[in-house]
Point group: C2
Chain length 444, copies 2
């Protein structure tokens, strides 16, 4: 440090100055951000919890946090297999412990093999560990009935939020009436409004139809798009399916109409599909935008730009704290895709432990793996379904679970035919009896 | 989904359309981002590695990655204690295993106790787990010789990069010549130029003086600031100390001069101190900006706004893959601090496993903990220093390690006086002899 003459010891010009950074001088876009999921209500909930702990009397004895989809905070237990593999990855000395199943060890070794220095503590490449992106691609293919997925179009992220903001960032350009507009559903998950405020993009609201269980109406999209063109340049359409917060699951026809609309109106499609494993309503079925788009054929399949987002925070695993997710891009311009990778590389890489968990979520233990039974049982597979699955795997005997026919609650059955010839039926019954004894020993 | 008459089956207007999102239409700020740490050279390195694997002949047999500070990728082993505690947190069944030391179990239980649902899989509050922020504050106090640190001014983050970008985001405002300018050193860590490009802020370069081992010269700051005022509104000054990529460690006098300059010129100070544990040069010592600022007293201490960043990716642990760091803010306007928390809450929370590791980094095992010896040994404490430290802890006998006097490489000594009276000296020598035998058993 060079001190020039007269510089040292100089009295400060003005010893009472206001802050440099104040509400008035700060980034106005950040000031406009609102995020209700963690807003004043949640702040107040924290205070109430503290008051309750201090013995203050309230009309209730505990605060129940239904504000955020945080399964494990609500008592859901993590899946044993996921945590076993992760513990092995974190502390590889455990690989020699007899307390871990062989398949968990194999999986941990495979993941560590793909890590820099064979450690979760090394950075990964910015798009995520190559074999994990391959596993994600295979998972997408399986989900979509074999439609190919290219691992090079899969980018791992710090939760789905991170990937969504990254794609939105790419889309924001222009000034004044040429500024990018983005269509988002109302009600929406407030990440969208928050990210658009921060990026100073124009939020274009389309309303879901509460009368029809919050269905998406393409006529409404058309209406708001027309109006929005007076004030911005709409360039993207966000769809949340299954809906958050609505839970609504879009029909295949609806998805097709949305894709046609996006194609005609030249809108980049963002499909937030993080709740794809949370479909409950009778008769509802999840259709991925990628699958529907591909099956629609030309001109849509090869041209419509789409980014689809998924996460390990929802679904059956609920591993929110690990912050892991991915985006698959479809028909994205190759040069833009390079720009996206560059942007991701500034943050170096998504957290590697979350990447490892994602790998296990997209490729869970198979029926021949030692961890399969416990994994399935923890997923709450109906006991008769589980019994029949293990029976098939271990003996080759294929029967039908009683739940397919109806049974008194708390009782479990299976149905088998006695059509096989006697010389096959006798050993079959013997194997069945042995299996039954073993199964009962193992799981009771 | 409502289909209006004539809508279904309508032929698309134009079946050959260009992409919506191209280099020409994308966010021009993102396009301007450059990030050399992972740029074309690194891309080429990946290709070269692949070619080598395929047997292509090169003038070298392996690519040595010295492009990024990724200790574990280069073979540095993770610290056992850190990974033990984390494995226990990930898979709490291990808490009953006899293979883990008691202090590791206690630490894991304490962390899990502070997690939602006692699981790393739950979101934490957006600023990070409360007890971990308390531990960070205590660590800062210890580092700074007792200067108080308030956990409410500590915010955990997804690596230091995340926190740096968040603070920069707050600072960006204004249009044209009123646009925020940020002073950054040249050479710099390219996160700064990348973030400023993305945020469309004005980058104001100040040059470090290579002739004086890359020292920071306040006259240079003054020069560039004067020039920058013609084209922007400079509102922040970034300092990287110890320097990245220069390794230069700023003197206390330099830091004082920088603080006086920032105060006079009304610049928000960002101190990137992630290399604070990596000080190697003889006679160099790390001084935190917070400590120097506080010790400068009024008017600086109570007014100059400062954000100081740290990370678990550097230092002795090098746990890059976990993406964890923190920022401590000093003298930040309270309302702005609320805005910062709001902004962080949009991404929900930093990865919880990284938060847990940070806790261990800021409060490692103490001398009375069972894991202390191994922890110290793994940090490469000179064996004689380690011996003397354990001797003191276990027997109360205080001697001096031979390294303080000089010794032949590979040999280790200690110096003790024989001044104690005979009735003390005899039991002392007995204890010493017992300890020596035990120590040799334990660590050989």
């Amino acid at each position: 440090m060079a001190l020039r003459a007269g510089e040292q010891g100089q009295a400060p010009m003005n010893s009472l100055k206001g802050k440099v950074l104040t509400l008035d001088t700060m980034n106005p876009c950040v000031r406009r951000v609102e995020y209700a999921v963690r807003g004043p209500i949640v702040q107040r909930a924290l205070e109430l919890e503290q008051e309750l702990r201090q013995g203050v009397k309230k009309p209730f004895t505990e605060v129940i946090r239904a504000n955020i989809g945080d399964a494990q905070a609500m008592g859901q237990k993590p899946l044993t297999f996921l945590r076993q593999v992760l513990a092995l990855c974190v502390h590889p000395d455990l690989l020699s412990s007899p307390d871990f199943p062989e398949d968990a060890k194999r999986r941990a070794e495979r993941i560590l093999q793909a890590c820099g220095g064979h450690s979760l503590g090394a950075y990964s490449i910015s798009s995520g560990i190559q074999i994990i992106r391959q596993d994600v691609a295979r998972y997408i293919e399986l989900r979509d009935g074999g439609i190919p997925s290219d691992p090079n179009n899969v980018f791992l992220s710090t939760g789905a939020s991170d990937a969504i903001v990254t794609v939105l960032k790419l889309l924001v350009a222009g000034e004044g009436r040429a500024r990018t507009g983005v269509l988002i559903p109302i009600p929406q998950y407030p990440l969208y409004s928050a990210a658009l405020a921060e990026l100073d993009a124009v939020q274009v609201d389309y309303y879901l139809d509460e009368e029809r269980a919050w269905a998406l109406d393409v006529a409404e999209l058309r209406r708001v798009l027309r109006q929005a063109r007076d004030r911005c340049c709409p360039r993207a359409l966000c769809v949340i399916n299954p809906g958050n917060p609505t839970g609504q699951v879009q029909t295949r026809e609806c998805i097709e109409a949305v894709i046609r609309f996006a194609f005609e109106e030249r809108l980049f499609l963002l499909a937030d599909e993080v709740y794809q494993d949370n479909v409950y309503a009778e008769g509802s079925q999840f259709h991925s935008f990628k699958k529907v788009l591909t099956e629609m054929g030309p001109p849509y399949a090869a041209q419509q730009e789409l980014a689809s987002f998924h996460s390990i925070s929802k679904g059956f695993m609920g591993e929110c704290g690990f912050r892991s997710g991915y985006v698959e891009v479809v028909n994205m311009d190759a040069a833009v895709q390079q720009q996206m990778l560059k942007l991701m590389s500034v943050r170096l890489c998504p957290p590697v432990p979350g990447q490892a968990l994602l790998d296990l979520v997209v490729s869970p233990p198979g029926p021949s793996d030692p961890s399969f039974a416990q994994f399935q049982a923890e997923l709450g597979l109906a006991p008769d379904m589980f019994f029949c699955m293990r029976l098939l795997e271990e003996t080759g005997i294929c029967v039908v679970p009683g739940s397919g026919f109806g049974q008194l609650e708390g009782t479990y059955h299976f149905r088998m035919t006695i059509l096989p010839p006697m010389e096959k039926l006798r050993p079959l019954l013997e194997k069945l009896s042995q299996f039954h004894a073993k199964f009962t020993r193992e799981y009771s």
